[in-house]
C-alpha cells in the first residue's frame, strides 16, 4: 500500500558533453550541493560524477552522529544550522532521514578537560545552542552504563550534555538527497571517475572523466578523502590535508540501554546505540596517510579496552562488524571551503576530517549559493585556504597539538 516501487533516482544514461556545473564526488557534500543548486538556485543542468556508487565513501562509513557543539564561533553557526536542517530536509525531500534526537554527552576526565569544555559550552550557549555542563552523577543518570567510580584509569570528572544532537540514518540522507536532486533534473553518474580538470586562461573549461570530457565552467571538488589528491594531482594545488583512515565498528543488536551518544576524548572513544540496537563505536584515527580503508586488529582491540573501562557492561557484548573510511584532516580540524579565486570556476569543499557528515547539508547549502553567485557567502569566509599561510589556524582543537611532525 505504501509502496511505489519506483527508482529512487533517475538512471541518467549517457554522459552529456556539457553541463552548467560538474560536481566531483557523489558523497553527501556533493549531493547536497547539487540538491541545493537545483532546488534553490535554479541551476538544474548539473552532473554529479562518482567513481563508485553514491554514498560509497565517508557518507556510508561514518557513525552518523550529529551535533552542534563546536569550539569556535566561526564553526558554531554552521553546525547549528546543520542540525536545524534535518527536520526541514526530511519534509522537503519527503524521505525519512530518521534523525533520532537523543542528545550527546561528551565526557571530561580531568579539570583541564572541564575547562576546555566550559569554553565550548559557554561559547555555544552564547550562540544560542542548547548545551550544559553536567557533573558525574548527572552523567550517570544520562548513561546508566557509565562507570563513574574511580576504577577506570581516567575517572569521569563531568561532561557536557547537548540535547539537540543525535544520530541520523546516513544512507537515508544519501538516498534522499539523490532522489531530491534527481527529481530537480540533476544527473547522477555513478561508476564515473574524474581523470582531469581542464583549465584555460585561468578558468575552468571542463572535466575529463573515464567516460569522456564534460565542458563546464564550474566544477566543485567535493571528493572527500580524494579531494586533496585531485587538487594536487590534477591542478597542482597542494592542500594542507592528510588523508587518514578512521575506523568504526558495531556490536550485535541489543535492546535499548544507551539513550544518548556518549563520547570521551581521553579514551578516543564514542558510542551510540542505533535504531537497530547496535552499539556503534569508534573515534581514533590511524595516523598515517593512506587510501586503503583497511581495518586493523590493533584498533578494534584498543576500542574494546576503552569500552571496558568507560561502559563496562559492554564487556558482555560482542563486536560484529568493523570498517574504515577516509578522513581528510587539516591542521586545525576545520574544513576548507573556498574557490573561484586563482582559477575561476573552481570550487572546493574538503578537509572535513571526521566532521563531514554532520555538516554536509549546510555545507552543500552554502556552497550552492557560492557556486551559483560566484560570491563567497560570509558564513564560509573564515574557511578560506589562505588562513594557513597567514598563521591563522581556526582553533577548533582545544589542546596543544601534542605532537605531529608533519605539521
Amino acid at each position: 500500500m505504501f509502496w511505489r516501487s519506483k527508482r529512487l533516482w533517475r538512471e541518467p544514461g549517457s554522459l552529456k558533453s556539457s553541463y552548467d556545473a560538474v560536481i566531483i564526488g557523489g558523497g553527501l557534500h556533493g549531493l547536497a550541493t547539487a540538491y541545493f543548486l537545483a532546488r534553490h538556485h535554479g541551476m538544474t543542468d548539473i552532473a554529479v560524477i562518482e567513481k563508485n556508487y553514491i554514498g560509497f565513501g565517508g557518507a556510508g562509513r561514518n557513525t552518523a552522529i550529529v551535533r552542534a557543539n563546536q569550539r569556535t564561533q566561526e564553526n558554531l553557526p554552521l553546525y547549528k544550522e546543520a542540525l536545524e536542517l534535518w527536520p526541514v530536509l526530511t519534509r522537503e525531500l519527503d524521505f525519512n532521514l530518521m534523525f533520532y534526537n537523543c542528545g550527546n554527552l561528551n565526557l571530561a576526565h580531568s579539570d583541564a578537560a572541564i575547562k576546555a569544555m566550559r569554553l565550548q559550552v559557554a561559547s555555544a550557549q552564547y550562540s544560542g545552542i542548547d548545551i550544559k555542563l553536567v557533573d558525574p552523577r548527572e552523567c550517570k543518570e544520562l548513561i546508566p552504563a557509565l562507570d563513574i567510580s574511580d576504577r577506570p584509569r581516567y575517572p569521569v570528572f563531568g561532561g557536557m550534555f547537548h540535547p539537540p544532537g543525535g544520530i541520523v540514518r546516513h544512507d537515508a540522507v544519501v538516498w534522499g538527497l539523490a532522489r531530491g536532486a534527481s527529481k530537480c533534473g540533476v544527473d547522477i553518474h555513478q561508476n564515473t571517475e574524474v581523470t582531469g580538470i581542464a583549465v584555460s586562461g585561468g578558468r575552468v573549461v571542463g572535466v575529463d572523466t573515464g567516460r569522456g570530457r564534460i565542458h563546464t565552467s564550474r566544477v566543485l571538488n567535493s571528493a572527500g578523502g580524494y579531494s586533496a589528491a585531485i587538487s594536487s594531482g590534477m591542478l597542482g594545488i597542494r592542500l594542507p590535508i592528510s588523508v587518514l583512515t578512521i575506523q568504526a565498528m558495531v556490536t550485535q543488536p541489543l535492546k535499548p540501554f544507551l539513550d544518548h551518544v556518549v563520547s570521551s576524548g581521553m579514551y578516543h572513544c564514542y558510542a551510540n546505540q542505533t535504531l537497530k540496537g547496535e552499539v556503534a563505536t569508534g573515534a581514533h584515527m590511524d595516523p598515517w596517510p593512506n587510501y586503503t580503508t583497511q581495518c586493523t586488529g590493533h584498533y578494534i582491540k584498543h576500542q574494546a579496552e576503552a569500552l571496558s573501562e568507560l561502559l563496562p557492561c559492554l564487556r558482555g557484548v560482542k563486536f560484529m562488524r568493523h570498517w574504515a573510511g577516509l578522513a581528510d584532516m587539516t591542521p586545525d580540524m576545520a574544513p576548507i571551503m573556498d574557490g573561484n579565486d586563482h582559477i575561476r570556476g573552481y570550487y572546493m569543499n574538503c578537509g572535513w576530517g571526521y566532521f563531514g557528515f554532520k555538516s554536509s547539508t549546510v555545507a552543500g547549502k552554502y556552497m550552492a549559493r557560492f557556486i551559483s553567485t560566484g560570491e563567497c557567502p560570509d558564513i564560509l569566509k573564515p574557511f578560506a585556504l589562505n588562513r594557513f599561510e597567514q598563521h591563522r589556524l581556526m582553533g577548533e582543537t582545544a589542546a596543544l597539538v601534542s605532537y605531529s611532525a608533519d605539521n
Binding site: S232, R238, W288, T292, E389
Partner: protein
C-alpha cells in the same frame, strides 16, 4: 591491514610502534627565502599521492631512529623502489 614498517635498525615491525613523520619534503629552505606562501607550502601542504610516496617514520617504541621509506598509500605496503626511479622526489 597489519602495516609493517621496515626499520633500518630493528627490521620489520608492527606499524603501530612507529610514528609517521610526513611526506619527504627535503630540508627546509633558508629563512630568508621563505615567503608566506612558500613557507605554508613547505610546512602544511601535502601531495596526498594515491600511490607510492617517500615519507618519514620514527621508531618511537623501539630504537628511536628517523628514517624514510617508500610506501604505496593504496595498499599500505612498503614499496620496493630499488629498480624504480620514476617516483618523483617531492620538491
Amino acid at each position: 591491514m597489519a602495516l609493517l614498517i621496515n626499520c633500518p635498525v630493528c627490521g620489520k615491525r608492527n606499524g603501530y610502534e612507529f610514528r609517521y613523520g610526513g611526506e619527504d619534503k627535503g630540508p627546509r629552505p633558508d629563512d630568508e627565502s621563505l615567503s608566506q606562501a612558500s613557507w605554508c607550502d613547505y610546512v602544511h601542504n601535502n601531495n596526498c599521492v594515491a600511490g607510492i610516496q617517500k615519507e618519514w617514520w620514527f621508531h618511537k617504541d623501539g630504537c628511536g631512529a628517523w628514517f624514510t621509506i617508500y610506501r604505496d598509500t593504496r595498499t599500505n605496503l612498503e614499496a620496493d623502489t630499488s629498480a624504480d626511479t620514476s617516483i618523483p622526489e617531492v620538491k
